[in-house]
């Protein structure tokens, strides 16, 4: 193949000109799993309908790196990207750079979305983004292996550890030496904060910072939760998780090398795709409780679409957002790639429930999902960094949970200026 043709193909992969039309929009959507492809299809469909052009901008997979890239672009007043896909914890950080969408979405239309998400996306009375899909942490497990060893899906973290140990013992003896027990997102990045929140809150240890802004990180239940997961390192949990993001964990689980995995719902469609080695062998359920008195907790995640204040075609960009968050498009995304709709009515759609058996119960999980402490406002990233560093240090055997959480607590208290943030 000639260099020119290769170059042209590369360019096509990065920027997808759809139809020669009047206007051209740039959208930055995700690149984890099938997201890029799904986004491209949706944007293309809109472009065909309206006779415009849409280009996809490639973004890093790590959400923190994405935010960094967006921040630099927006702080410089750049108009390179019209529509941004933003994380559920970002409205407070990037909100000032986005236009108010309330005039474009009348009351009746706003009511169709999960109210909690709409509240989350409203900053100082301005609706800065429309919920696109919603997430919560889930537990994936190998149905076939659990059946083989006559184990039931675990409802507590302790049961998960026992079950994993039993399965590993048997499989290792049978020569499956690469099999590990439980993988999750353990790299020191935002994903670890989400995992840690699930462990701590499921043990009754609170949400790091309470609704009033007081730091609650250092408490006996939180220490118990982090200590428990740390005790699994090296026997149930492979040390490699300390460098895994979402896709790192999915790679191990989907290649058949793990019994349990904590991940977001997007992994369901991929684990059951035609080329997946574990196709048809996977079960999915809510995350375990932290012991008999604990509760089952999934961290609330999800992504929204907002329009940049610096966009040269804001009206058109809003149209694209409307199209991508419409009921039809959200249904398509749920069927093809198990993205959870943000419109309440879709959770009663029989087609969606058939393709994603777990989604019916997820509507409830979203109601119970625990939000990250966004009361910390623009300082959220610092809060998250201190928490995940403390947890990462504990998991990698540097200091006890008690010491590390106490140190992080002190840092956060200083940062919070007495809970005022």
């Amino acid at each position: 193949m000639s260099m020119v043709r290769m170059g042209r193909m590369l360019a096509l992969m990065l920027f997808v000109p759809v139809a020669a039309g009047a206007a051209r929009l740039n959208i930055a959507c995700g690149s984890v799993g099938q997201e890029q492809e799904l986004c491209r299809q949706g944007a293309e469909a809109w472009a065909r309908q309206t006779g415009n052009e849409v280009s996809l901008v490639s973004v890093p997979t790590d959400a923190g790196q994405q935010l960094t890239m967006f921040q630099q672009l927006l702080a410089a007043g750049g108009s390179d990207i019209d529509v941004f896909r933003i994380d559920v914890v970002w409205p407070g950080i990037v909100g000032p750079f986005f236009i108010d969408l309330r005039p474009y979405f009348p009351e009746a239309e706003r009511a169709a979305f999960f109210p909690a998400l709409m509240r989350n996306n409203t900053v100082d009375g301005r609706l800065v983004a429309i919920p696109w899909f919603v997430d919560a942490g889930l537990l994936y497990y190998r149905k076939d292996l659990l059946e083989k060893y006559q184990q039931r899906p675990p409802d507590t973290w302790q049961a998960l550890a026992r079950t994993a140990k039993g399965v590993l013992e048997g499989e290792h003896r049978a020569g499956q030496v690469r099999l590990t027990g439980f993988v999750f997102q353990g790299k020191a990045y935002e994903g670890l904060t989400c995992n840690a929140l699930e462990w701590v809150d499921s043990f009754g240890g609170g949400t790091f910072v309470d609704a009033q802004g007081q730091v609650t990180l250092d408490n006996p239940r939180a220490v118990e939760a982090v200590s428990f997961i740390a005790s699994l390192m090296g026997n149930v949990v492979p040390p490699g998780v300390l460098s895994y993001e979402e896709e790192g964990a999915r790679g191990v689980f989907q290649s058949g090398n793990a019994v349990f995995m904590r991940n977001w719902p997007y992994a369901w469609a991929l684990a059951n795709s035609a080329e997946s080695p574990v196709r048809g062998k996977v079960g999915v359920m809510a995350l375990p409780r932290g012991g008999p008195e604990g509760r089952s907790v999934g961290t609330l995640g999800g992504w929204q679409l907002g329009v940049s204040r610096f966009s040269t075609q804001p009206e058109l960009a809003v149209q694209l957002v409307k199209f991508l968050t419409s009921a039809e498009e959200q249904k398509r995304r749920a069927l093809v790639a198990s993205f959870n709709p943000t419109r309440v009515a879709l959770y009663r759609d029989p087609d969606i429930l058939r393709a994603n058996p777990f989604m019916g119960s997820l509507a409830e999980t979203f109601a119970n999902a625990v939000a990250r402490p966004t009361v910390t406002g623009a300082k959220y990233n610092q809060v998250s960094a201190d928490i995940r560093n403390a947890v990462h240090a504990t998991l990698s055997g540097r200091g006890s949970a008690q010491e590390n959480l106490r140190k992080a607590q002190q840092k956060l208290v200083r940062l919070s200026r007495g809970g005022r943030w």
Binding site: L67, A75, K187, G240, V241, S255
Partner: protein, 305 residues
Amino acid sequence: MVTASHRGGASVLARQRARAAWVFLLPTLVGIALVAGWPLARTVGFSFTDARLTDLSAARFVGLESFLSVLEDPDWWTAVWTTVRFALVSVLLESVLGMGIALVLHRRFAGRGLVRAAVLVPWAIPTVVSAKMWAWMFHDVYGVINAVLLRLGLLSEPLAWTAEPSLAFWAVVMVDVWKATPFMALLLLAALQLLPEDVYEAARLDGAGPLLAFFRITLPLVKGPLMVAALFRLLDALRVFDVFYVLTGGGSETQPMAGYARQWMFEFQELGVGSAAATLLVLLIALLTAVYLVLGRVRLDVGES
């Protein structure tokens, strides 16, 4: 009288030459001022303010407050220690290995030209690309390094090379050594080729073995170029960012100083504090360079006199 007029004439010529030199240098100086001087000055300027990335116009002068908050942060000192340790260890390894490779390449053998070119390949690959490549090779479940070590019986179970902070440090050093040793080897090879052959012949006649010849003749003669090459690498290593970022990804235990500055500037949006960290990094590099030049008695203006 003659001497005076002669001197006067020479100084006119010298002045003309100096003026011409400045004229020719001017575009370069303007270029450096624009692309290096201005950003540096702005960074230093920001480090005395409480600037936030979201709204630069609201920045206020706060004196040394940002510097103090960096110096009080234990994470900063972890980063300093990580960076200095990384720079010393990797430059030492690169110098020793580079010298070994240069000595081999200095000998005459068939296909020497090809080998010399091939050795440079790691240096030619962009760091981000090679670091990502190594990240896959280091992977704990499907990485080739674990597979080979397990097959050879050197490991009983796979190691998480980039995950555990103690291992991750050495993984980063390994990638840096792999990448920068060729550079070192090439500079040393150039130095070796300038050495006079007759000195070695005389040494041989006096009955000196190859080891003695290396330590008594080669090493003292290439000391100057070796120190300069090591200095280049040291400066590079102290401002390291990409290898760490790709391989270990931001945990506070495996973060170089440049990573710390990036995190505060962009992830936390505290441009003031981040700039203070970046300024401290520049000062530290300047300080270490000065110490190195004085202690090593390295001259950078060789050829002038």
